[in-house]
């Protein structure tokens, strides 16, 4: 084995750290080669994030102010994806739309993960009648289609980006709760949990220090795939006019607008749809790859 001079001269702590860093990079590279689909997903998501962050740099047009001299203009050098029925640049709206999709997706999934993890930990750890009651309650919520639940919530709270996040988060949480519960049931049976209990660890300590760290992998896997789902629900809500109010450049509402221009402007229907599909595709690919790596038991489930 060849040691590089840099490592030889470094202290032990430094040595371990640099070896670990190298290890991570090398492992990432190997993973990307072995899981090209996952790598493609990560790439798509990076592009999405870049589009959202760099939107003001990547376009000179304002996503919300239209040019009345260029209504439903075909793609050209000036408007590379054309303009919509109000003369707004579609390329700019698609880029800025990535901000809405990402924001709603990430925050909604964070809400879902918080609710789902809390309920799943309680239900799985406590067991007994509490578990039965929680499971029945989750069944009740799951009997409502996620979209209908989110629609009802948004209709009540008012169509506003914050409320869309809350609604999508709540509608996504029961599925997460069930997966966390199932994982907790498995982890709970381990000897180290028994050991912790035998040295007098309290319930909360066992749950937070011993069980939670061992169920984070499935949580992250499900949350990643859930991001795609959350983006889809947001787009569906916007499509039905229940998303962030106009003139916000939400991809779903862009598609809804495009229906009014049937026979006029294909570009207004095509580009936002491609954006939604690629975003969801990216998160699904990455979620799948993470699942294969971290949690082979979940393979094949959705």
């Amino acid at each position: 084995m060849q040691a590089s001079p840099a490592i030889e001269s470094a202290g032990t702590g430094e040595l371990v750290r640099s070896a670990r860093k190298k290890n991570v990079v090398a492992r990432l590279g190997r993973t990307a080669v072995r899981r090209p689909l996952g790598a493609a997903g990560a790439l798509l998501i990076s592009l999405l994030v870049l589009a959202a962050v760099l939107a003001p740099v990547l376009t000179v047009h304002d996503p919300e102010i239209g040019d009345f001299l260029a209504i439903s203009a075909a793609p050209s050098d000036e408007h590379i994806m054309g303009t919509d029925g109000l003369g707004r640049d579609i390329y700019a709206r698609v880029l800025y739309g990535a901000r809405i999709s990402l924001q709603v997706g990430i925050i909604a999934v964070a809400i879902a993960a918080t609710i789902g993890t809390t309920i799943g930990l309680l239900s799985g750890y406590l067991g007994g009648w509490i578990d039965s009651v929680i499971q029945r309650l989750l069944e009740v919520v799951q009997a409502f289609p996620g979209l209908v639940l989110a629609m009802a919530l948004v209709a009540g709270l008012g169509p506003d980006i914050k409320n869309v996040m809350i609604a999508v988060g709540i509608a996504t949480s029961p599925g997460l709760a069930r997966i966390v519960r199932a994982s907790v049931m498995g982890v709970k049976a381990n000897t180290y949990v028994e050991a912790a209990r035998s040295i007098g660890a309290t319930g909360p300590r066992i749950v937070l220090r011993h069980i939670l760290p061992n169920v984070t992998a499935p949580i992250i896997v499900v949350a990643t795939a859930g991001l795609g789902g959350a983006i889809l629900v947001e787009a569906s809500l916007s499509f039905l006019g229940l998303g962030p109010p106009p003139p916000a450049p939400s991809w779903g509402s862009m598609l809804n607008d495009s229906r009014l221009a049937v026979g006029v402007a294909w570009w207004s229907a095509v580009y936002p749809g491609i954006a939604i599909s690629l975003a969801v595709f990216g998160f699904n690919l990455l979620g799948d790859a993470l699942r294969d790596v971290w949690d082979p038991r979940l393979r094949g489930t959705r």
């Binding site: 799951q142 039905l240 026979g263 749809g273 939604i276 969801v280 699904n284």
Partner: protein
């Protein structure tokens, strides 16, 4: 067996009661009521009070719930807050549209998904397998409503034709009925076919590695026989479960497809009811959707226990 069935049936009752409560509470805790939506600020407070009293909406939430459940038990779902006609009439007019749409979508999605899953699993890592897997990932990512929008928008631009939308009752003109159903059903069933395919593939791959399948091969049976007599039956069990769970997504997706294809179904009615705070209409629609979900999944569980005797002991 009998005891398992009874236990499952009893467990479904609290869930159904919970469904009625959640339906009821969810839409009432949200601010704004039908009077606000109808009249906005063009109404004096005392007039509003009177209208609410007429609609029975000045009572406590619990009292309203008891009133409503009492009616439901007698088969009276109440009058629409918007049109003053019985909501059950509107429901009966609209439910066949959604049922037909969802069933067609399910037939389409399951057939395509199961067939593609079999092809994919039996040719693991071959080109067809990769093709099917990539297509299924796309099927999951492409929103059904985008596909539907394209189906309507693109032909109009290219050839100046707009595919038929709307709804013709089957009894009136079966051919027209099917023609108008095909596109919405296909775009609704797309995601289901992708999910089914992925599950069918992984489930069949699992089964194909089992000893009894190896024995079947060793006996010299043909591929057809091994698959149909030994592998498929077992591989289909998890697929059936997931299809049961997907019923809910299908009925939710119908909301959007009905909006796009201008079909007078339950989904459209639900969207309108939400928009106008028409609580009574919303209650019957959502109660139906949730009940279908609970009943279908109960049926799946029972079916499951018949196919797999190990479940009964659990």
């Amino acid at each position: 067996m009998g005891r398992y069935v009874i236990r499952r049936l009893i467990l479904a009752i609290p869930v159904l009661i919970g469904v009625t409560m959640l339906t009821f509470i969810l839409i009432r805790v949200v601010p704004g009521d039908v009077v606000d939506v109808k009249f906005g600020t063009n109404i004096r407070p005392e007039e509003k009070e009177e209208l609410l009293a007429q609609l029975g909406m000045n009572k406590s939430l619990a009292a309203q719930y008891v009133d409503w459940v009492g009616g439901v038990v007698r088969g009276d779902f109440g009058q629409s807050l918007r049109t003053n006609t019985p909501v059950a009439d509107e429901f009966r007019r609209r439910v066949p549209v959604t049922i037909e749409l969802a069933l067609l979508a399910m037939v389409f999605g399951v057939t395509l998904g199961v067939l593609a899953g079999i092809v994919s699993a039996t040719r693991q890592d071959g080109p067809l397998d990769y093709l099917a897997r990539v297509l299924s990932m796309l099927g999951l990512a492409i929103p059904g409503f985008w596909l539907a929008t394209l189906i309507l928008v693109l032909p109009a631009i290219w050839w100046g034709v707009i595919p038929p939308t709307g709804y013709t009752p089957f009894t009136e003109d079966p051919v027209d009925n099917i023609q108008k159903m095909l596109l919405p059903a296909a775009s609704l069933g797309l995601a289901l076919s992708a999910i089914t395919m992925r599950l069918m593939r992984s489930s069949l791959l699992d089964v194909l590695r089992q000893d009894y399948v190896r024995v079947a091969w060793a006996k010299g049976l043909k591929e057809r026989t091994v698959l149909s007599r030994h592998a498929l039956r077992n591989a289909l069990i998890p697929v059936i479960t997931v299809i049961g769970l997907q019923v809910s997504a299908l009925l939710g997706g119908a909301v959007i497809q009905e909006t796009i294809f201008v079909m007078p179904g339950l989904g459209r009615s639900t969207v309108d009811a939400i928009r106008f705070r028409d609580y009574t209409q919303l209650q019957i629609n959502v109660l139906f959707i949730a009940t279908v979900y609970v009943v279908v999944n109960l049926a799946v569980d029972l079916l499951y226990s018949m196919v797999d005797p190990r479940i009964k002991q659990a």
